[in-house]
């Protein structure tokens, strides 16, 4: 099991000093809900400069017809870079891979939809190599999914969880309604759960994030996946680097699991979200 990081700083050297060898690079204009993105030329430069590192690219925006021509060119361009894989959301990418016989491995990354092993196996049979497990699963569901699929899996260990994504420019619209100055981010509060949420806007739409850092580390010793993902987007850099360092030390067998758990605890919320609590969807009549 290795760590894969989506970073926010320009220089990779700082991350390399923490033994980081695998990076997630969100593609400019084609990745949503990440703080930092890269042009395809920047990705090419990184590949050339660091031939021994692993690079995965994220293309997770919802694709529209007008994007398709350029998307096809980008996929062909990336196919020549020998990157380790493309995290994809839209099925247009799988269709284009099949039609163009592209060789770059694909990672099924339909954020909230990667929830069962039979569908993972369907994608495996259709030319997808990896899947990123949805963040809304309870621990036993994650273990069951892992046990019953042959696809290689990734699991998001550290992030501000992405909750929702809209094509609408929700912050722009809100600021217009309230005659406020345009912003790219809002922190909003919801009183039922007494919880803050981060809302960000880019030209591809609006994303909602859980504002706290849930603690998923307890599952680490029970799961066997190819990659655990640490996404620095909208997280304090110093805290992120401490957590990355601890994670890599554990994965490199330099610290024990109890030490890892104790060490990460001060930086994370007590909330484990769905890891310890299944979502419900049938509401009893009297609860309606």
């Amino acid at each position: 099991m290795k760590s894969m990081v989506a970073i926010t700083k320009d220089k990779l050297e700082e991350y390399l000093s923490y033994n980081q060898t695998c990076f997630l690079l969100p593609l400019e204009n084609y990745a949503v809900s990440y703080e930092k993105t890269y042009t395809k030329e920047e990705i090419k430069d990184l590949r050339k400069k660091y031939p021994s590192l692993e690079f995965f690219v994220v293309i997770n925006k919802t694709i529209f017809n007008e994007d398709l021509k350029e998307l096809e060119q980008i996929l062909e361009y990336l196919d020549g870079l020998s990157i380790q894989g493309i995290f994809f959301y839209d099925l247009a990418i799988l269709e284009l891979k099949q039609r163009k016989s592209l060789k770059t491995p694909l990672v099924w990354n339909q954020t909230h939809l990667v929830t069962n092993s039979k569908t993972c196996n369907f994608y495996l049979e259709n030319g997808v190599d990896y899947a990123l497990i949805a963040g809304e699963l309870e621990k036993s569901e994650i273990l069951s999914l892992i046990e019953n699929t042959q696809i290689k899996l990734c699991y998001t260990l550290l992030s501000k969880p992405i909750i929702a994504h809209s094509r609408r420019n929700l912050i722009t619209n809100y600021e217009k309604m309230t005659n406020n100055t345009q912003k790219e981010q809002l922190i909003i509060h919801e009183s039922l759960k007494n919880q803050d949420y981060l809302v960000t806007e880019q030209k591809e739409g609006t994303s909602f994030f859980y504002q706290d850092l849930p603690n998923y580390y307890s599952i680490l010793k029970d799961i066997e996946v190819e990659y655990v993902i640490l996404n620095e987007s909208y997280i304090d850099h110093t805290i992120f680097m401490k957590l990355l360092n601890l994670t890599n030390q554990y994965l490199d067998h330099k610290i024990s699991f109890p030490i890892l758990l104790k060490s990460v605890e001060p930086y994370l919320s007590k909330d484990t979200l769905f890891l310890s609590s299944k979502t419900i969807y049938r509401v009893k009549k009297e609860e309606k």
């Binding site: 919802t62 694709i63 529209f64 017809n65 994007d67 398709l68 839209d90 099925l91 247009a92 269709e95 284009l96 099949q98 339909q110 909230h112 939809l113 929830t115 069962n116 092993s117 039979k118 569908t119 196996n121 369907f122 994608y123 259709n126 809304e136 699963l137 569901e141 069951s144 019953n148 969880p161 909750i163 929702a164 994504h165 809209s166 094509r167 609408r168 420019n169 929700l170 722009t172 619209n173 809100y174 217009k176 309604m177 309230t178 922190i187 909003i188 509060h189 919801e190 009183s191 039922l192 759960k193 919880q195 909602f208 609590s277 979502t279 419900i280 969807y281 049938r282 509401v283 309606k288």
Partner: protein, 396 residues
């Protein structure tokens, strides 16, 4: 040329009958499991059989939603369930999960698979992917423009279904778990708590929501026919009989007039007014002609109007006294102008003269919802005829 389909939502057998009698060509229903309306009444296998039997007798179709996002535990028994539903006579499944799509398409050629809008399909290449999987129809994402819809139809030649009326999501379908994180209820398994309509706050600003206005595409039905959309879908499996009868009946008239080339600006305005009166929110056409913007949302000052127009459901005819028998829903009184509308499309406008109870005692007003009442009327009307208020007697 194949006529465009009008597809309506049915939460139970009675709603299904109302939809089909008022002019829907097909209905979509949820089973007791696996749909995205886990808390609607939904249909048992026996009820699905009855639904299919009723629909097929009227030369109409029934589609079953199987569009939740499955967790491993949900997969237990789903294949057997699909087999049973096929035997019950269903015409198509509305599915989002590609594993289930392949299961159904490999197994059964007589039953169609329609790709659910839960997949947020927005481009022709992803439509091509599902076409290869055996999908016969794609329910497109609600975020598309007329141009984008037309391109997909022209270039994939696959049947396309679009939403024309009802509630809209703020976010892409399948890309929203606000409900999961705020309430613990799983949006993608039918438990959506509509958190986008909850109040949020930001610093000292007044509370606001991210809610959207409803969709109303009445004025673009002609465009949708012209670009060769196959099916027009109305949202709302949990809506009332009156809402369904009004919305389905109105769109039936609009569609028929489009084909007859008799839809005038004047009668379109009348139909839009009817649709707006039955809605409890303002409406817009969202992405169809422009990028959705601040005018398509409620941030503050949201208006949820309680509709009092529905006066009652006609349940029979008292031949001896020449009276319609009705079950009251809302207050009315002598002097009110009313409209009696029927599944056949025939409409009667009247001013209420006298109101009687079940024993033909005259009442001053009708003030008790669920009370059985009688109104003088010259002829018997078909089952599921209804009465709506047009104008209160004292309105100036």
């Amino acid at each position: 040329m194949k006529k465009i389909e009008l597809l309506a939502p049915a939460g139970d057998l009675e709603r299904l009958k109302v939809n089909l009698l008022y002019g829907a060509d097909a209905v979509y229903i949820g089973g007791e499991k696996y749909s995205l309306r886990a808390n609607a009444t939904n249909f048992s296998l026996e009820q699905i059989k009855k639904a299919c039997s009723f629909a097929h007798k009227h030369n109409k179709k029934v589609y079953l939603t199987l569009n939740m996002v499955f967790h491993n535990e949900d997969m237990d028994g789903v294949e057997e369930y699909i087999d049973k539903v096929i035997k019950a006579g269903i015409d198509a499944f509305i599915v989002s999960d590609p594993f289930l799509i392949s299961y159904i398409t490999k197994k059964e050629k007589q039953v169609e698979v329609h790709l659910s809008t839960q997949n947020s399909t927005t481009n022709k290449e992803s439509v091509n992917f599902f076409k290869k999987q055996g999908v016969k129809r794609v329910v497109l994402a609600r975020e598309l423009s007329k141009k984008e819809i037309k391109e997909i139809i022209d270039e994939t030649k696959l049947d396309v279904e679009v939403f024309i009326h009802g509630a809209m999501c703020t976010c892409f379908s399948g890309r929203c778990t606000l409900s999961n994180y705020v309430t613990g209820r799983d949006a993608n398994r039918g438990g959506c708590a509509q958190v986008c309509r909850f109040a949020f706050s930001k610093e000292e600003n007044p509370p606001f929501t991210f809610a959207t206005k409803d969709l109303n595409m009445a004025k673009y039905i002609k465009d949708l026919i012209e670009i060769k959309v196959s099916s027009l879908k109305i949202e709302g499996r949990m809506r009332s009989l009156y809402y369904l009868a009004t919305v389905v009946g109105t769109y039936r008239k609009i569609i028929d007039k489009c084909y007859q080339n008799t839809l005038t600006d004047e009668n379109l305005k009348k139909y839009e007014k009817t649709l707006n009166r039955v809605a409890n929110r303002e409406t817009s056409t969202h992405y169809f002609m422009k990028m959705a913007d601040e005018t398509d949302q409620y941030y503050t000052g949201r208006k949820e109007l309680s509709n009092q127009d529905y006066l009652g459901l006609i349940t029979g005819y008292d031949k001896k006294n020449q009276c319609l028998i009705m079950v009251e829903r809302n207050y009315f009184e002598p002097g009110d102008k009313i409209e009696i509308f029927t599944p056949t499309g025939k409409v009667y406008q009247r001013t209420v003269d006298k109101i009687y109870d079940e024993e033909m005692n005259e009442l001053e007003v009708a003030r008790h919802p669920e009370q059985v009442l009688k109104l003088k009327f010259e002829e018997e009307l078909p089952e599921y005829s209804m009465i709506r208020l047009i104008e209160k007697k004292n309105k100036k």
